[in-house]
């Protein structure tokens, strides 16, 4: 029982999502079946508009599926909650709170019933230290760079000690160098905290570097899972060492092949 629970930590069964639009019903997702094991890092990759974020919002509980079931730790996902923390694409920090207060808001929500004020403060400081932002704790989001904001967003999510960390293109809005730095930090943090992560991305290298499993989605409408690639590269992974690793290049080629040959962009297909 506990084994199956661990292997099917997130369990998505026959999920279908249809949106009502002015032009009628729009089928966004259909026949989504996916399992994520505990401690696994899964990347969702696909072209724009293929429903990656829709699927992530379903796991987060921000939306409910038209049909099908989503389970997390054998319980149906009925709504959003702090056990499934989300790192939003545009960081979504509250601009009127300092970085410390932004993280504290989450910590307070999750732990204030069982812990003292001092313990909450220690947790908040620890979360900011984890992403290397102790010095910026008393700054407001408007006073720090985009990369730092995204790190505060990650600190806020991790500070809740979530069962699952959901990331919606967390590094999409950053420049390449900052993105690489944050990816390395994320690798390190995930290794230390042994988090279960589902991450939406459109960056092939990011997907191969970070994940255990890459879920490749077909183009919408009515997008579904086209292929699941298991990335069995040993950890810890180093970006530099992997750059000419034949296995890494093989995985990279497989994803590119899927995205650009079999699922060529919608405009090309039309």
């Amino acid at each position: 029982m506990s084994n199956s629970n661990e292997a099917r930590y997130i369990d998505i069964q026959g999920v279908e999502q249809t949106f009502k639009t002015k032009k009628g019903l729009f089928p966004a997702l259909k026949d989504i079946n996916l399992t994520v094991a505990k401690g696994e890092f899964v990347a969702l990759i696909g072209h724009s508009g293929c429903g990656k974020s829709t699927l992530l919002n379903l796991i987060a509980g921000l939306t409910t599926p038209t049909s099908g079931v989503l389970l997390c730790a054998d319980r149906e996902i009925a709504g959003p909650g702090p056990e499934r923390a989300v790192v939003f694409q545009n960081h979504s920090l509250l601009p009127w709170l300092t970085c410390y207060e932004n993280v504290f808001l989450a910590v307070e929500r999750v732990f204030s019933r069982t812990e003292t004020r001092i313990q909450l403060k220690v947790r908040t400081d620890a979360a900011l230290a984890l992403v290397g932002l102790t010095a910026a704790a008393q700054k407001r989001p408007g006073e720090i760079s985009g990369g730092m904001k995204q790190r505060v967003g990650i600190a806020r999510a991790l500070s809740m000690e979530p069962k699952v960390l959901l990331m919606d293109e967390p590094f999409g809005a950053l420049d390449a160098l900052t993105r690489a730095k944050l990816q390395d930090e994320l690798l390190d943090i995930v290794a230390r905290t042994n988090s279960t992560v589902v991450m939406v991305t459109h960056d092939v290298d990011e997907a191969v570097l970070l994940s255990d499993k890459i879920v490749m989605m077909t183009n919408g409408p009515a997008a579904t899972i086209g292929e699941v690639l298991t990335v069995d590269l040993p950890r810890p992974r180093s970006r530099v060492a992997l750059a000419d690793d034949p296995q890494y290049l093989h995985h990279r080629k497989a994803v590119i092949d899927f995205l650009y040959t079999r699922q060529a962009h919608v405009e090309k297909a039309a």
């Binding site: 959003p80 979504s92 509250l94 601009p95």
Partner: protein
Amino acid sequence: MVSAVFHSPLEAIAPPATSHASPIGKAMSTPKTDAPAAPAAVSARPSAASRDFRGFWMAVLPPVLGLACLVLVWQLIASTGNTGIPKPLETWAQAVTVFSDPFYSNGPNDQGVGWNVLASLQRVAIGFGLAAAVGIPAGFAIGRFEFLSRMFNPLISLLRPVSPLAWLPIGLLVFKGADPAAIWTIFICSIWPMIINTAVGVQRVPQDYMNVARVLNLSEWKIFTKILFPAVLPYLLTGVRLAVGTAWLVIVAAEMLTGGVGIGFWVWDEWNNLNVSSIIIAIFVIGIVGLLLEFALIKIATLFTFEEVKS
């Protein structure tokens, strides 16, 4: 002076210690370096000063010219025949007498301009305060819950365009007094901008922030204090600013009808005395007080506005 140093070629040759050293002996030994430096300073000073003056003139001259135009037009209209409008100088003389003793009181119908303005401001403050106490929470509720929004939007659309003065008889009927009726009129005219702006502000809180609230599962109280209120504050303050502006417009008209003490009543009283220069003074007083109210509220609003909220 700094530019003078750079423009003087001889100053560079002279040792820099010259100006700081004791003048005894040095003044005798280096008369040639001091002498040319002084005219250079004189010639450089006007160019730097004229640059300062240009900024000064651009800031001061146009508004002064605008005021001068107003006074000129006023003078022209007053001088042509029998309009009965007093000339600017006569009005000024009257203003000096009015403002020399703004706080006299000879019974309820003859009080200084200071008392009248204060009485009006007090009515505005009470009416506006009540409107804020009702309108701002109502705005939050209407913005937050779609049901309430659908319920009250038709009522607001129906009642908002009604001239506030149309409410005055209702106030007189219900409250049986001039003062509460005027306050009621202020209340009803300043409540709409606050309800509407607050509700729109709540509806425009970025979905991202609300998603954060949902993921964290924040309590309704936390959502209000940590997300809604700070996000809505700029909208709310715009509503407050519009409301105070409207209230100040309406109080004059309401007081003309209700009488008592107040700047609006003062205008009407002076009209009955055919004291037109006092009316013109009152117009300026009303304008200046309105300007000050607006200015104060804009200052408050900029203090509380976060740039990220707008984007």
